[in-house]
């Protein structure tokens, strides 16, 4: 697809000189956010340690897990290469965050590139969250991130064995497959070493401080991911297929400003800290911002969820009309 063939070229919204200014990256700001994020993770781990064996431990694990799950934000930022000005810093942080968040860096980069090309196009956007029709089951599976834990281990193992799923093959160039397979092997070796060490010492630490909290902390970041596109137009216009949402200072910090999601899709080469300014410049041209995460969630639940019977009927109708029906749920891997 040619960028110039998009139904609306978002570059029309910001002139070239302003784009140059808004796309300047900063190592200092990137490091501040990254160190801050990991300090918050450290604080969460300390809270679990201090409350170990008490009821409060559950709360500490949830809070810690929420911060861990929100590592998706720096992982996503690094995939764009916009977290830092210095490239090696960006790529080092990308690897570190990807290992902790549990995502394959190069594979995610390809998947995410396609998401930006074919945002909200069923069958083309591999990161499309809850492609309609959506039932309550789909909604809760997405919100709780369940499928990630059953699908990702299978996918990364396939990659480690030198195999790519057919539904992913079209967007990954063959020349880069060896890199993806090598990454999978390295990551599995790291995870295997952690598991073996824990078993050898009889330690529950990886489960208590990492995996279980991460599972508990999924809903908040998944809710943000739903808010970014769900309920927006399933079409190629960035002014209607993506949504920004008002968020508190703490939420914006934890999500590295990703609640300004429309602005990110308008100018994906802009670093996260430029998104509020872009919002002030062009918000009136974009889909109206969601009032809050809860308000958007309510809108999604009321406006987009249908019964199983209705979903089956819609899918049948689409099939009769030869329309694409994307039920592969690839998004749950991210």
């Amino acid at each position: 697809m040619k960028r110039q063939e998009m139904v609306f070229d978002p570059f029309q919204l910001i002139d070239k000189k302003e784009r140059k200014r808004l796309t300047r990256r900063s190592d200092a700001i990137g490091l501040t956010y990254l160190v801050g994020h990991f300090l918050a993770i450290g604080a969460g781990a300390l809270a679990i340690y201090l409350t170990y064996g008490t009821f409060w431990m559950v709360l500490a694990m949830w809070a810690h897990g929420t911060v861990l799950a929100c590592l998706f934000a720096p992982m996503h930022e690094c995939s764009h290469g916009t977290a830092f000005r210095t490239r090696w810093l960006n790529e080092t942080a990308y690897w570190l965050v990807s290992v902790v968040y549990i995502s394959q860096p190069t594979w995610y980069r390809y998947r995410h590139a396609v998401h930006h090309t074919y945002t909200q196009i069923q069958g083309k956007d591999p990161a499309m969250v809850l492609p309609g029709p959506t039932t309550w089951q789909h909604y809760f599976e997405q919100l709780l991130g369940w499928r990630f834990w059953t699908t990702f281990p299978v996918v990364i193992t396939k990659h480690a064995l030198g195999r790519m799923r057919p539904q992913d093959s079209w967007y990954v160039p063959k020349a880069d497959l060896p890199r993806i397979y090598l990454e999978a092997r390295i990551m599995l070796a790291i995870y295997g070493l952690i598991a073996a060490t824990a078993i050898y010492f009889g330690s529950w630490a990886p489960l208590v401080y990492w995996i279980l909290p991460r599972m508990m902390g999924e809903p908040l970041q998944r809710a943000w991911r739903i808010a970014e596109h769900k309920g927006c137009e399933e079409g190629p216009d960035v002014r209607t297929n993506t949504r920004s949402t008002h968020a508190s200072f703490l939420m914006r910090a934890l999500c590295w400003n990703m609640p300004y999601h429309s602005e990110h899709h308008v100018l994906p080469q802009a670093p996260f800290f430029a998104l509020p300014e872009i919002n002030r410049m062009i918000a009136s041209e974009l889909k109206p911002m969601g009032a809050s995460l809860l308000a958007v969630d309510r809108e999604v639940r009321r406006g987009s969820i249908v019964s199983r019977e209705e979903a089956a009927r819609i899918i049948d109708e689409r099939k009769k009309n030869n329309e694409v029906v994307d039920k592969s749920w690839l998004c749950r891997l991210d």
Binding site: R3, R19, A113, T117, P268
Partner: protein, 118 residues
């Protein structure tokens, strides 16, 4: 009389003074879109169309001696055209550049201009 670089197929790309550092601008020669860069005071030229998906690098970001595509942030070395990693794997074609009397010239042969994409 205006001085021009020695040899054939030089095309005027603009005035050097119009470029700030880390600027990139597009020029069209025949069918070919060329990106002209100024980096650390020197000028360079590559094909303007990204080798990943069709987007103009002249709409992209220049950081040090690297240009980043505006579409998917694929990165290329401006001097060599080398692709620097996912999602780009194929190198850019580069073109000779000379600055004479404050004017930037890019050498593009008629064959390159005819075969190129814009």
């Amino acid at each position: 009389m205006t001085n021009v670089p020695a040899g054939e197929h030089w095309h005027l790309a603009g005035k050097a003074s119009d470029f700030e550092d880390e600027d990139v601008e597009q020029m069209i020669v025949g069918n070919l879109a060329v990106a002209i860069y100024r980096v650390e005071g020197a000028f360079y030229a590559t094909q303007d169309v990204c080798t990943h998906e069709h987007a103009y690098l002249s709409d992209g970001v220049v950081v040090d001696c690297v240009v980043e595509c505006p579409f998917h942030q694929g990165r290329f070395d401006i001097k060599s055209g080398k692709a620097l990693g996912a999602p780009v794997i194929h190198a850019l074609k580069t073109f000779p550049v000379e600055v004479v009397d404050g004017r930037i010239y890019v050498r593009v042969t008629p064959e390159e201009a005819a075969e190129g994409s814009s």
